[in-house]
């Protein structure tokens, strides 16, 4: 299964990178070369993707990911960027590293949540510890020294991460 998922994604990336080289579509040589290279990549990475590989091909999940990155994530970035702009200009900072307890199950959810936290400025994930269910986050303006959930740090991102990484 890992082979098929990896093949489909490498072939799609190949199609994206080679579109428009000769006319709008692809020449037969390009398609054949793409299939060959995708097979090589898929064969060598078939064991790396890990458990539950089919979710990478689930169109609803991908649509949710796009909606998430355009909607809540981008809006969070806009708000937080203006916040950091204010802190840069005025110099009002109160930095610190806080421990954020989270309720997540697998590595994909940890990756999505910690990347989202890092992308919204003002917070930077230093380490994720799935064994104690916590993230260590450097916060440029600490509002709560011991947050009980991820809500003060990242808003609704934890709900989205739980949903997307299922």
């Amino acid at each position: 299964m890992g082979f098929i998922v990896s093949f489909v994604w490498s072939f799609m990336l190949w199609l994206m990178l080679t579109a428009g080289t000769k006319g709008m579509l692809w020449s037969p040589e390009e398609i054949v070369a793409g299939i060959i290279f995708s097979t090589i990549v898929a064969y060598s990475t078939r064991n790396i993707i890990g458990e539950k590989t089919t979710r990478f091909l689930n169109p609803i999940r991908l649509l949710e990911l796009v909606v998430y990155s355009i909607g809540p994530l981008f809006w969070g970035m806009v708000k937080a960027n203006f916040d950091v702009a204010y802190r840069v200009i005025t110099g009002k900072i109160r930095p610190g590293i806080v421990r954020v307890p989270v309720e997540l199950e697998n590595d994909a959810q940890y990756t999505i949540l910690s990347n989202s936290i890092t992308l919204t400025p003002g917070t930077l994930t230093i380490d994720a510890c799935p064994e104690e269910k916590a993230l260590y986050v450097h916060w440029i303006y600490v509002r709560e020294e011991k947050p009980k959930s991820s809500e003060p740090v990242s808003g609704s991102f934890e709900k989205w991460a739980r949903r997307l990484g299922r």
């Binding site: 960027n81 900072i93 992308l119 994930t125 260590y136």
Partner: protein
């Protein structure tokens, strides 16, 4: 100038403003963690808009001329944007964790929970 060009210039303006702010943050803050905030995040936000400006320009030219090289330009910029969004947080995390593990402590920090955890793992009293 047409409306599309105004959009492109607006995107480029946002890009320059936030990249400038990121450079200013490097000058303004005093230690590695707060500098990382400015250096990685403000510049990411600015660069997203630079890429969006390229994509809008390419799609606009594609509509006017129908030259496939503009399709290529838009798609390649999109791939670059996705790669940037995936690698930037990872890099920031790696730098911050490496700095902390090699002994650089956050200056003026009100709380350092990660230090407590590391000490607990080493078996020292916090």
């Amino acid at each position: 100038m047409t409306g599309i060009e105004y959009v492109i210039y607006a995107f480029l303006g946002i890009n320059i403003a936030f990249n400038l702010l990121g450079s200013f943050a490097l000058h303004r803050f005093s230690e590695v963690y707060t500098r990382l905030h400015g250096a990685t995040k403000c510049t990411t936000f600015g660069t997203i808009f630079a890429v969006l400006a390229v994509i809008v320009h390419a799609v606009n030219r594609l509509n006017i001329t129908g030259d496939p090289k503009y399709l290529q330009m838009a798609l390649h910029s999109l791939v670059a944007l996705i790669a940037l969004l995936l690698t930037n947080p990872t890099g920031a995390h790696a730098i911050a964790k490496a700095a902390h593990l090699s002994g650089v402590k956050p200056v003026r920090a009100v709380i350092d929970a990660y230090e407590v955890k590391l000490k607990r793992e080493r078996g020292e009293s916090p």
